[in-house]
Amino acid sequence: MRDGETRPGPVGWLIRSATLLAVVSVAAFAVLHAVPGDPVIIALSVQNLPVTPETVAALRAEWGLDRPLAAQYLHWLTGFLSGDWGVSFRTTRPILEEFGRRLPVSMALGFGGLALAVIVAVPLGFAAAARPGGLADRLARAVTVLTQAVPAFWLGLVAIWLFAVELGILQAFTGPLAERLVLPILIVALYSLGSLTRVYRAELLAAVETPMYRTARAKGLSRPEAIWRHCHRRGLFGLVAALTPEFGWVIGGTAVTEVVFGLPGISQFLVESVGARDYFVLQAYIVVIAVWMLAVFTVADLAGRLLDPRVSR
């Protein structure tokens, strides 16, 4: 939300969310029409079914593709809303069921990584603000520079080589899921750490400029003490604000990590399915990500109103 603008009320929120979901659902619907080739023929040949005029016509009628475009969209939308997301050709199971099984893995990866990042970002950002230019500050900067230049999937491959091959501490592709999640969570955390630390540190340093901080120092508190007692709260607000987009990104944004570590999450499912031209999965994926992001931003907006009475006016 930019400065000088009022936040939308419940009606405004409803209109915006409905518009967003309408746009996204049309985009997801359009995917099937945008794929190169006839999706019906692709579906039949992927399943090793005979491609004859009869089977093509039958499937076309089943999917409602013989109707006008608007009717097709409504047919698809009502089906999708009632839980009929189609069947994955590759696994021969309903896509809804596949997502239900895999979403917890993606969430464990994303939330685990973000939680770890926050746990490290607060002490690191605090130490960086207590002594700008000091060791902690330079460490935080190094993490940022590193994660902006090193592709996450490459770091993942290097981590597998180091921990699973050279040191033999962790198993990368076999073993219980909890053990396989350790390295990926560390990598997700590392890639969020830089920006979270920077935001928290910047908020603390901004609070240091206020009269409140000067008063605390004049009272005799040391710099770290004064920052902790009087600036930390503001830093946390900044951190929560910075976490909102991170939460929005974290479900789909971990795609490369899921693929490198072979984790059975939704993004890995998408990559494998699309590789096998299983385009229904892409449709479901687009909608799931959009709903997730809408939910995150709505919750963050509500939380912001509750925490900061100035916002709600």
Binding site: Q148, V150, L157, V158, V188, G252, G253, V256, V274, L282
Partner: protein
């Protein structure tokens, strides 16, 4: 030299180097030599050979061209589209302006990689489609920045003077707004290029809809990922190339803190 000059010079030199490397290689990057599979580093194979005995250095050099092409396409598209939308929104104001800005904000909210992944899935993955997809996914921050700069420029006394002297909107846009926004946006262009290198590598690594005949740094990492246990050097070289290219671009020009656009820095999640 100004920050912008430094960044653009670094970008230009790097692009020229990558393009040159893709034009000439010491050996045929496609020549298969099964007798010298996984050859170690030697004068004839400075980076060794891969599982088919192909010279890795030559493949790396040829692959550099893809990265250079993607940088050029993404930069032109996000810069061009961002300037167009941002300046138009600033000049138009009213409902049209706010609709354009809403669109830009929407594009920023959509995860870059997901959007790019969807586009390349549907239209195939080549440097051109990847460049277009990444450009379409990343013009948002440029539009917001151009919009903010346009509003600032329009409020300045010399622009007000020009308007009151009867210069029309188009004249003001061409003579005052665009030159001033371009200056700042070019700064971001240079520092954004590093991000582009990493996101293109991720797309190529996921490899949806890619043709695998052409060597490419990200695609090589995907192709060689099975050799992480037996021949890790095959993974080290392309990874180093991506990292060093991105690092050079990132360090050549760091965004200045407190810049009007620093709040809208494009975010890229690759984890």
């Amino acid at each position: 030299m100004s920050g912008r000059g430094r960044g653009l010079t670094a970008l230009g030199l790097l692009l020229a180097g990558l393009a040159l490397a893709s034009l000439w290689q010491p050996q045929d990057p496609f020549a298969i030599d099964l007798a010298s599979r996984h050859a170690p580093i030697s004068p004839s194979h400075p980076m060794g050979t891969d599982h088919l005995g192909r010279d890795l250095l030559s493949r790396m050099m040829l692959g550099a061209g893809n990265t250079a092409m993607v940088i050029v396409i993404v930069a032109s598209l996000s810069f061009g589209l961002g300037t167009l939308v941002g300046v138009t929104a600033g000049l138009a104001r009213g409902p049209i302006g706010s609709a354009l800005i809403r669109t830009a904000e929407f594009v920023i909210a959509v995860p870059t990689l997901i959007l790019a992944l969807t586009i390349t899935t549907l239209f195939g993955l080549s440097p051109v489609t990847a460049g277009l997809a990444l450009g379409l996914a990343t013009w948002g921050p440029y539009a917001l920045l151009a919009h903010a700069l346009t509003l600032r420029t329009l409020g300045q006394p010399h622009v007000l003077a020009a308007r009151s002297l009867g210069v029309g909107r188009a004249g003001v846009a061409a003579r005052h707004v665009v030159p001033e926004t371009t200056d700042t946006l070019l700064t971001y262009l240079a520092s954004d290029a590093g991000r582009t290198v990493v996101s293109y590598a991720s797309l190529a690594f996921l490899g949806l809809g890619a043709e695998t005949s052409q060597p490419d740094w990200g695609a090589m990492l995907f192709e060689y990922r099975g050799y992480v246990f037996d021949a890790p050097m095959l993974l080290i070289w392309p990874g180093l190339a991506i990292t060093l290219t991105a690092l050079t671009l990132n360090l050549a020009l760091e965004p200045r803190p407190g810049h009007p656009g620093s709040r809208h820095r494009p975010k890229l999640k690759e984890t």
